[in-house]
């Protein structure tokens, strides 16, 4: 098996894009990890072009020790002149940045962030969380 095929095989297909209601999360199992997916539509803040993107973060709320993040409310928080996409956990309303996993209401914990890849209408999630060191 060559290196490229091996890397490709790590991506896990979890659902079709059509199964995702914009701005309403769902949970998926990615090799025993519970991951919350959020499809966000709108305008890309950098390019100004229409955007349709899927975020993937950990489904477990670190403050509640319960798997509920996918059932949170999607929103945005103004930071440094930008609107950052967020989710508010339904348990104690902690607000997390969907792109970085950072918690805006209590910086002592954060969510793991996963990479997503959409091809042919299928959503793939990479099972290895993005190292927090790489998150901007």
């Amino acid at each position: 098996m060559n290196a490229v095929a091996e890397r490709k095989s790590e991506w896990v297909s979890v659902c079709t894009k059509g199964q995702l209601i914009p701005e309403r999360g769902v949970a998926v199992l990615v090799r025993d990890q519970q991951v919350a997916l959020f499809r966000v539509t709108g305008t890309d803040v950098e390019t100004g072009l229409p955007a349709d993107f899927v975020y993937a973060v950990g489904h477990r709320d670190p403050f509640a020790d319960a798997n509920v993040i996918a059932r949170g409310i999607v929103g945005s928080v103004g930071r440094d002149g930008q609107q950052r996409d967020t989710v508010a956990s339904p348990m104690y309303k902690h607000v997390f940045d969907l792109a970085t996993g950072e918690c805006y209401t209590d910086p002592s914990a954060r969510l793991p962030v996963y990479r997503t890849w959409i091809a042919g209408g299928v959503v793939y999630v990479h099972p290895v969380p993005v190292s927090t060191a790489l998150v901007p």
Binding site: E23, L29, N67, G72, Q83, T105
Partner: protein
């Protein structure tokens, strides 16, 4: 001016202040070798204040050319006919003479009271010699033992002073309780517990018989009325004071029965231009041992000297002090002596708090009170003597935070957020010093409201008050995405007819919204009667509870509450619910709203559970929504011997009418079939109580964090009129209240309060009743059971999965243990197996590997 105490000082100060032309010059004769000092603060001498620190007044009277202060100079005679006084053998003339000789400590006729080691507690010299004595005894090495005779105000002051010097102290009081003049039996008992808790022994109902000298000739023991003897090194008499009226007596002035120079309401004695004020004056038949009335008398005399007509308005015993670190306050008719007066008492022996209010016979007007242990309410209550309290007197007595009616006035020490132990003072300083300007800032800075969140309305109120104080305009913006309040947003949406969140936020807001504004818009759209909670545009706005129509619990599962209108349920209904709970392994509990809560349902179990419940005739109970919850009822005239109306029938009618109505916060109703009020309707947003003639309507009650009693809104309504009134009240509330504002604070915040709302609802003062009626009729007509509708829609059902890529799987992290015959979520320790309980699985739950 004869006498150099606090009252004399006040008189001279006031006279000089009000007589700038200098019509009067004053000679002040002081027997003590000090200028006037703050005798009330005498005990603070022991906490390191020197006599100089106690000197009264910022203005140096001695420096005033029109004031001559003669220290250490006693006046020995008065000739009222010749208008002269005798000082150091010389005659000095006067135009007016003021006696302010005060009083002296009274020592009871006890054998040995003149022994060395026996003291009184009145002057700086008394305190200095007492201190020196204690130091001398202590220098000999042993623990110093002391007895204070008298458990009144002064006695406790003295006991505090001795205790502070390290003396093992006993307080002996002849009456059956401490501070018998200020506090009642309950207050005395509370005070005793606190004082004893500090290590000061208290003996009440005990008479002092004699002091016995030891070998040295000084006090060594004390004997009580019952013959018991205790060893002691020092005795302090604090048994009250007697007016220093000897000079007045010898000068032929009239003396009261129990001492004191008799004066009329203008403080004039029987002799022309001779006044008496302060503790030496016997005014309106009594003497006053408090500084407050003395000050009043001083002001009266100043006014008279300057040609005015002032009279003494009377005084009361109101005092607030800190004795031995304990707050004690007594005011007005503290002993409920007024005929028909009522006492409202709150006592918490564990916390060492006793509070009593004396109310008029209709329980409305405040007559007096006693506060021991926590006198924080004194400042608010004292000015309200003789006035109507305007709310349930209990609210003034309960510990702060549970019912304080005036939140803006909460003392800094009041605990606002009990989860994180944050006080009102901390919240205030986060605003005024920390620079926080919004709720999010205050939460982040203080942690207040970050746990259960029930204190947030109070936190917001405190923050707003503080911001307004510092002149900052308080934004009523909902959140960072909308600059409008909920009520403004309601108007915008209803006027523009916009029906999607995207339209609304792009035209009137910024960004994508958040967990605050999205549910608000969802609720407004629902109130305006648009669509099912799970319809695409609404779905993404809903909190998970509204979205899946169940209540999220701590482990991520949900609870299910079918509607049981008025709490009336058939045996078949009970069996059906029980069967569902058994089949799905749900924990069951009866709720406070007379229905049954089923806990532990995983998200994918909700549709099969509801399929069974709907088949059995149940519908959604909206326990998850900011909407009507329940209409609680008593059994009423149908069965009850005392019921006068069919409360269950009305409650069923009301619950079916308002079910599903989305509102700014949850709404609860109650209907009682008679005045016994078994349905606790006055604890509800809308409470109905049957009368012989119809129904009385109460509004604005709630339980929870800030309990309120509902207030009477209308009397003796027939059923159609009652229903119309409730329709309008609720719809007006739905349209105009703030986010998460229940009816009580809404009524309070509404301009003109309850009366104005009554005019809107009953007299149509805004001309909106037709519109309110139409809106409610539309709600009633368009109601559909959300769960029945969901079960009929495969698209909606497909959203009820734990994992979209494994629809059959439940959350594998869920774990339960059995307790009292039912299952409950396992704790973190139980999950990892460090605690003994055995994990179990529910009836249809996979066993944890």
């Amino acid at each position: 001016m004869i006498g150099g105490g606090m009252v004399a000082h006040r008189l001279v100060e006031a006279l000089r202040d009000r007589d700038p032309e200098g019509r009067w010059s004053v000679d002040l004769y002081c027997e003590e070798p000090h200028p006037p000092y703050d005798r009330v603060a005498l005990t603070s001498y022991f906490s390191g204040r020197s006599p100089a620190d106690l000197v009264m007044g910022e203005v140096d009277l001695a420096a005033d050319p029109l004031v001559s202060v003669h220290l250490g100079t006693a006046v020995t005679g008065i000739d009222t006919a010749a208008r002269t006084i005798e000082v150091a053998g010389e005659e000095v003339g006067y135009d007016a003479l003021v006696l302010a000789t005060g009083s002296s400590a009274f020592v009871p006729p006890v054998t040995g009271s003149d022994l060395p080691g026996a003291f009184v507690y009145r002057t700086i010299e008394d305190v200095q010699t007492l201190e020196a004595w204690v130091e001398k005894v202590a220098a000999a090495g042993a623990t110093v033992r002391g007895v204070v005779v008298g458990g009144g105000l002064l006695g406790l002051e003295a006991a505090g002073a001795l205790h502070g010097l390290g003396v093992q102290t006993k307080v002996v009081e002849f009456a059956d309780r401490l501070m018998p003049l200020q506090v009642d039996e309950g207050g005395g008992a509370a005070l005793r517990r606190i004082v004893e808790g500090m290590g000061v022994e208290v003996l009440t109902a005990t008479a002092s018989a004699a002091l016995h000298a030891g070998d040295s000739g000084a006090v060594a023991a004390m004997e009580f009325g019952d013959g018991t003897v205790v060893d002691t090194d020092v005795v302090v008499f604090a048994t009250g004071v007697r007016p220093r009226d000897e000079l007045a007596r010898s000068s032929g002035l009239v003396i009261g029965e129990r001492g004191g120079v008799v004066v009329d309401d203008s403080c004039v004695t029987v002799a022309d231009d001779v006044y008496a004020i302060g503790e030496v004056a016997c005014i309106q038949g009594r003497t006053w041992g408090l500084v407050g009335p003395g000050y009043t008398m001083a002001e009266v005399v100043v006014d008279r000297l300057l040609g005015g007509e002032a009279t003494f308005p009377g005084a009361d015993m109101s005092t607030k002090l800190k004795l031995l670190g304990v707050d004690v306050a007594s005011f007005g008719d503290a002993f409920a002596e007024a005929p028909g007066s009522l006492e409202v008492v709150y006592a918490d022996p564990v916390a060492g708090v006793y509070k009593k209010l004396v109310m008029s016979d209709d329980a409305k007007t405040l007559l007096g009170g006693v506060l021991v242990g926590d006198a924080s309410a004194y400042a608010s209550l004292r000015p309200m003597l003789g006035a109507e309290l305007g709310s349930d007197p209990n609210a003034w007595l309960l510990p702060e935070g549970t019912g304080a009616p005036v939140t803006g006035d909460l003392p800094d020490a009041a605990n606002v957020c009990s989860c994180n132990n944050v006080t009102a003072g901390t919240i205030r300083s986060s605003v005024c010093e920390g620079g926080c300007t919004d709720l999010a800032g205050v939460k982040a800075c203080t942690k207040a409201g970050t746990s259960c969140g029930s204190c947030l309305p109070l936190v917001k109120k405190l923050m707003t008050a503080e911001l307004e104080k510092s002149g900052i305009t308080v934004s009523n913006a909902l959140c960072e995405h909308f600059e409008f309040s909920r009520a403004q947003l309601f108007d915008i949406i209803s006027v523009t007819g916009m029906r999607t969140f995207s339209e609304i936020i792009s035209s009137h807001g910024t960004g994508r919204g958040c967990d605050i504004c999205r549910p608000v818009v969802a609720s407004i759209l629902s109130s305006l009667g648009t669509g099912h909670v799970m319809d695409a545009d609404l779905a993404r706005l809903q909190d998970t509870n509204d979205h899946v129509m169940a209540n999220l619990q701590k482990d991520g599962t949900y609870s299910v509450v079918p509607r049981v209108p008025a709490g009336e349920i058939t045996p078949e209904g009970l069996i059906a619910i029980g069967q569902v709970a058994q089949d799905f392994g749900l924990y069951t509990k009866i709720t406070g709203g007379q229905r049954i809560d089923l806990f532990g349902a995983r998200i994918e179990q909700l549709p099969p559970i509801w399929k069974r419940l709907v088949e059995a005739g149940f519908e959604s109970g909206h326990a998850y929504g900011k909407s009507l919850r329940t209409v609680k009822s008593c059994v009423g005239s149908t069965w009850c011997r005392y019921g006068v109306q069919d409360s269950v029938g009305l409650a069923v009618e009301l619950e079916l009418r308002y079910r599903g109505l989305r509102s700014p916060h949850k709404i609860k109703l109650g209907v009682s079939g008679c005045a016994r009020e078994c349905a606790e309707a006055r604890g509800k947003d809308v409470g109905v109580i049957a009368t012989d003639n119809g129904w009385n309507l109460y509004v604005g009650g709630n339980g929870g964090f800030t309990p309120r009693h509902a207030q009477l809104f209308a009397e003796d309504l027939d059923t159609p009129a009652l229903v119309r009134t409730i329709d309008r009240f609720l719809m007006y509330y739905v349209r105009t209240a703030d986010r998460l504002q229940r009816t009580a604070p809404w009524v309070e915040a509404h301009e003109g309060g309850m009366d104005a709302i009554r005019e809107v609802v009953m007299e149509d003062s805004l001309g909106i009743c037709a519109s309110l009626d139409a809106a409610m009729d539309a709600h009633v007509d368009s109601y559909r059971d959300e769960w029945a509708a969901t079960l009929a829609d495969p698209d909606k059902l497909s959203q009820f999965v734990s994992f979209i890529n494994a629809p059959e799987a439940g959350d594998p992290d869920l774990a339960y243990v059995e307790e009292r015959g039912q299952r409950r979520p396992a704790t973190a320790a139980e999950k990892v197996g460090t605690v003994g309980s055995t994990l179990i699985a529910g009836a249809k739950l996979e066993v944890r590997a």
